[in-house]
């Protein structure tokens, strides 16, 4: 990286886990090569646990193949809500080991971990032992012949055996699986249901003889209602909750599911979704719809956002509210489409030409994608500006079991011109800098929205005074807005503050909890509002603490942005790493403790 603050940054990958919590959470990777069904298995395991009253989440890792190829489900189950993966895996369950090597980077293992898998029959072409890259960890290897166990039941499939094994590992009983299987596979007929049940039974039996198991206690109280949802679905839900009734779509990984969720949802709500020819079209379509008075949104990822920045500037200058959800992936350029990174912060905040202030927000968990997107719609609409939602692949494509996130009632909406007026000036300089917007159809409200510098009357002007007045106005309305308490989540007390944004909030909060339990508490500040930056409030929240800035980018985009805004007044360290490896709670806790010691 070679920046001068590099001296102060840790190599996050090398930091050791600190104070892993007692077994109230289990982390299991289920993997297999082409078509083995690892992802289905992971999803069913999560659902079975959820039905038992547990919480959890599942992230997915797939190879570059379009279909088939290797796939892994990383499942964390816990007795309370979790918002990140654990530091390490308790177990890897390999339906086969053939391409498990490819996941070596992502599988943090140690001597306490189990490597459970089917090595295949010696001499069989498909047989493969535990790869050296995993065995190196010193984890205990347990051979389970998934193929043989599956073959032993009529129509048995290996992934169902694996499901049974995983269930047994965490203490889920046969009856619990039965109900789930009936629900999910019932449509395929009784034979399929029976085969699956029998497969699971094989796995449960195999689990019973494992050298160690990690049973999770059943919650004492009857758990309340829970949802299984991905961040991309939650963003879609937040959008319509916020009032979005028009969306334009151009597919891109990992944002497509936002659009695919919205397509039928908008239809059912009486709204519309149009598939655009490209992102230049999709962003302009939503500007058009919103100009017509219908709250509008699109979702994309880095490359698509890059194509949109010219027209983001148009929406800012013409003061047309729009929302763009950017589900970030590894960059730059096409980068790593299927993996997560927090490196679109720069473009989201500073990617427009000219001075084009707008709102940038970031959800803090899978479930928070709902609130944050709803809030983004509210801010865009009330401030007549652009709101970018910076989600990422981790949030967007992870499935989480959570308590149903409550929607907020943000109250006021777009300030619209009442019917029939005289002497209307679209960009009038008013007290709160938010000029009433006329919508087509309103008599006397006619004006031409323009990306050219304009006067209050909306007519083009190249006068310095008009230019300045409108720049002032557009900056002022953002600064004066009421962001309430949503701008950040602030928790805990301590001599050091952990400062992060967006999806890293989950790992950071878990680190803070562990540190508090270890008697070494910290303050946690997780930013939801990135632009405009609440500099004064942030300075106050940080107080005189030393600040550990945590982010998933290579160049330290967040750090530089905070410094640029004057929010970091004291001693600062940077803990950062590009994607795709997540930054784990233990690494954050370790960085805090190491700083304390040094």
């Amino acid at each position: 990286m070679g920046r001068h603050e590099e001296k102060a940054s840790f190599d996050a990958a090398g930091a050791a886990a600190v104070g892993e919590r007692p077994r109230d959470s289990v982390c299991i990777a289920i993997l297999g090569s082409g078509g083995a069904g690892a992802l289905t298995t992971g999803g069913l395991l999560l659902e079975a646990a959820a039905r038992r009253g547990l919480y959890g989440m599942m992230t997915r890792s797939v190879g570059p193949q379009i279909r088939g190829g290797e796939a892994a489900a990383f499942v964390r189950l816990a007795t309370r809500p979790v918002a990140c993966m654990a530091d390490r895996f308790d177990a890897v369950i390999a339906i086969d080991w053939r391409r498990a090597d490819r996941f070596a980077d992502e599988l943090a293992l140690d001597a306490e971990s189990l490597l459970i898998g089917d090595p295949g029959k010696p001499g069989d072409a498909a047989a493969a032992p535990v790869p050296e890259s995993l065995a190196r960890s010193g984890a205990r290897v347990v051979d389970i012949a998934f193929a043989d166990l599956a073959a032993a039941v009529p129509g048995g499939r290996e992934n169902m055996v694996a499901l049974g094994l995983a269930a047994g590992l965490v203490g889920i009983a046969a009856e619990e699986l039965d109900g789930l299987i009936a629900k999910r596979l019932g449509a395929k007929g009784t034979a399929a249901v029976e085969a699956s049940r029998a497969g699971c039974a094989q796995g449960l039996a195999a689990a019973a003889v494992l050298p160690v198991r990690f049973p999770l206690p059943r919650p004492e109280a009857e758990p309340g209602p829970r949802w299984r949802i991905t961040g991309n679905q939650a963003a879609g839900l937040g959008a319509v909750q916020g009032g979005v009734r028009f969306a334009a779509a151009y597919p891109i990984t990992p944002a497509t599911e936002v659009l695919e969720w919205l397509a039928p949802a908008l239809r059912r709500l009486g709204g519309t979704l149009v598939q655009a020819e490209d992102e230049l079209a999709s962003i302009n379509m939503i500007i058009g719809a919103s100009f017509g008075g219908v709250p509008a949104l699109t979702a994309t990822s880095g490359p698509g956002l890059a194509l949109m920045v010219e027209s983001l500037g148009l929406a800012v200058a013409s003061e047309v509210p729009i929302v763009v959800v950017d589900v970030m992936r590894g960059g730059p350029s096409t980068g790593i489409p299927t993996k997560s990174e927090q490196s679109d912060l720069n473009i989201a905040v500073m990617g427009c030409h000219g001075d084009a202030p707008h709102v940038v927000v970031a959800p803090l968990s899978v479930g928070d994608c709902r609130l944050t997107t709803q809030w983004a719609v509210h801010l865009a609409e009330t401030l007549q500006t652009v709101a970018v939602v910076l989600s990422d692949q981790f949030l967007g494509q992870s499935q989480a079991v959570i308590a149903p996130p409550e929607p907020e009632d943000f109250g006021t909406r777009r300030k619209v011109l009442p019917r029939t007026v005289e002497g209307y000036r679209r960009y009038e300089l008013v007290g709160d800098s938010i000029s009433p917007m006329a919508l087509p159809g309103i008599t006397g409200g006619q004006y031409t929205a323009d990306g050219l510098t304009h006067g209050e009357n909306a007519l083009p002007s190249s006068r310095a005074s008009d230019h300045r007045a409108q720049l002032d106005k557009r900056a002022a309305k953002l600064v004066q807005a009421d962001y309430g308490a949503h701008w950040a989540e602030i928790e805990g007390e301590g001599d050091i503050a952990i400062l992060c944004w967006g999806s890293l909030a989950g790992a950071a909060r878990e680190a803070a909890e562990r540190l508090a339990e270890a008697g070494a508490p910290v303050r946690l500040v997780a930013l939801r509002l990135l632009a405009p930056l609440r500099t004064e409030a942030l300075v106050e929240a940080l107080g005189h603490r030393r600040v550990l800035v945590v982010e998933q980018s290579h160049s330290g985009q967040f750090l530089n942005y905070l410094r640029g805004s004057g929010a970091l007044t004291g001693e600062t360290r940077s803990l950062r790493r590009p994607g795709p490896l997540p930054i784990r709670p233990g690494e954050i806790a370790a960085a805090v403790q190491e700083w304390r010691r040094s």
């Binding site: 659902e47 028009f246 709500l269 020819e277 379509m285 058009g288 100009f291 087509p440 409200g445 990306g451």
Partner: protein, 277 residues
């Protein structure tokens, strides 16, 4: 276009007070005149009309009308208009563009707007040059035309907007000449009344960078045959005509794009249910 009975309106009711930045004698003045005349003829109240444009001399037109307008960025007017019309089907949406804005940077949206067949009208004021940026060749420029950016000419075959519109599925195709404002008003009016995506190429001379276009007024003539409903035949005619046939050239009857389900909206809670365990 929606029906709005009285009051009866004059062309001047659709004109704003803004003085155009166009050069004296620019063909676009007449296009503005045609536009306001056709709106008066239609009787649609100005506040029910949206005039959408990109960037160029021609694209300055929205603010010269008394309708709602959007002077967006270069090349994207059709996309913006598509979003507006889908969200607000009650409005009459007109898109006014230039040959650079519409066929160069905006070419992709043209293709897909024709295909999509949303009920909007697309008028391109074609002067075969980038007027606003002071005289560079556009897609419709003759390959021999000498300019600073392409000394000795581009050597590139001109873009054929009408043929492309037909090949892409536009539902109504016509050519007009700005020097005939009544005829142009009539053609645009018919385009607006025709369901689906209507495309009108208006030859509109640039007196400043293409003074030779003064000769157009003597070259144009009414298309010798009636409009067809066969796109292949219409295309063939256009490919072999002299480029100066004026009139409606094609009327189609493809189904108009309508993504609205028409069903009674469900409450939000219906959507939430799918997440519950």
């Amino acid at each position: 276009m929606n029906e709005h009975p009285a009051p009866k309106r004059k062309a001047s009711d659709y004109k704003s007070e803004v003085k155009p930045v166009w050069c004296p004698g620019c063909g676009d003045y007449h296009v503005l005149l045609s536009l306001t005349r056709m709106l008066a003829a239609s009787g649609t109240p100005p506040e029910q009309v949206a005039v959408i444009s990109g960037i160029g001399c021609s694209s300055r037109i929205p603010a010269y009308t008394n309708c709602y307008g959007f002077h967006g960025v270069h090349g994207r007017s059709l996309a913006l208009a598509a979003g507006l019309k889908v969200a607000r089907p009650d409005l009459t949406v007109l898109v006014m563009s230039g040959d650079g804005d519409g066929f160069s940077i905006g070419g992709n949206h043209f293709l897909h707007a024709c295909r999509r067949n949303i009920d909007i009208t697309y008028v391109v004021m074609d002067n075969q040059v980038y007027g606003m940026t002071k005289g560079q060749p556009s897609p419709t420029t003759d390959p021999e035309w000498d300019s600073a950016l392409a000394p000795g000419g581009t050597g590139i075959r001109p873009f054929q907007p009408l043929v492309i519109a037909l090949a892409s599925g536009a539902n109504f195709v016509a050519r007009a000449f700005s020097g005939q404002p009544n005829e142009t008003a009539r053609i645009i009016h018919e385009a607006v009344m025709h369901p689906g995506f209507s495309f009108v190429q208006v030859m509109s001379p640039c007196v400043t960078f293409r003074p030779e276009q003064a000769a157009w007024k003597d070259a144009v003539h009414p298309a010798p045959v009636e409009a067809t409903d066969d796109p292949a035949r219409a295309a063939r005619r256009i490919m072999t005509d002299d480029g100066f046939n004026i009139g409606v050239l094609y009327r189609g009857d493809r189904p108009v794009f309508d993504p609205h389900s028409g069903a009674e909206p469900v409450p939000l809670s219906a959507l939430e249910r799918s997440f519950a365990l």
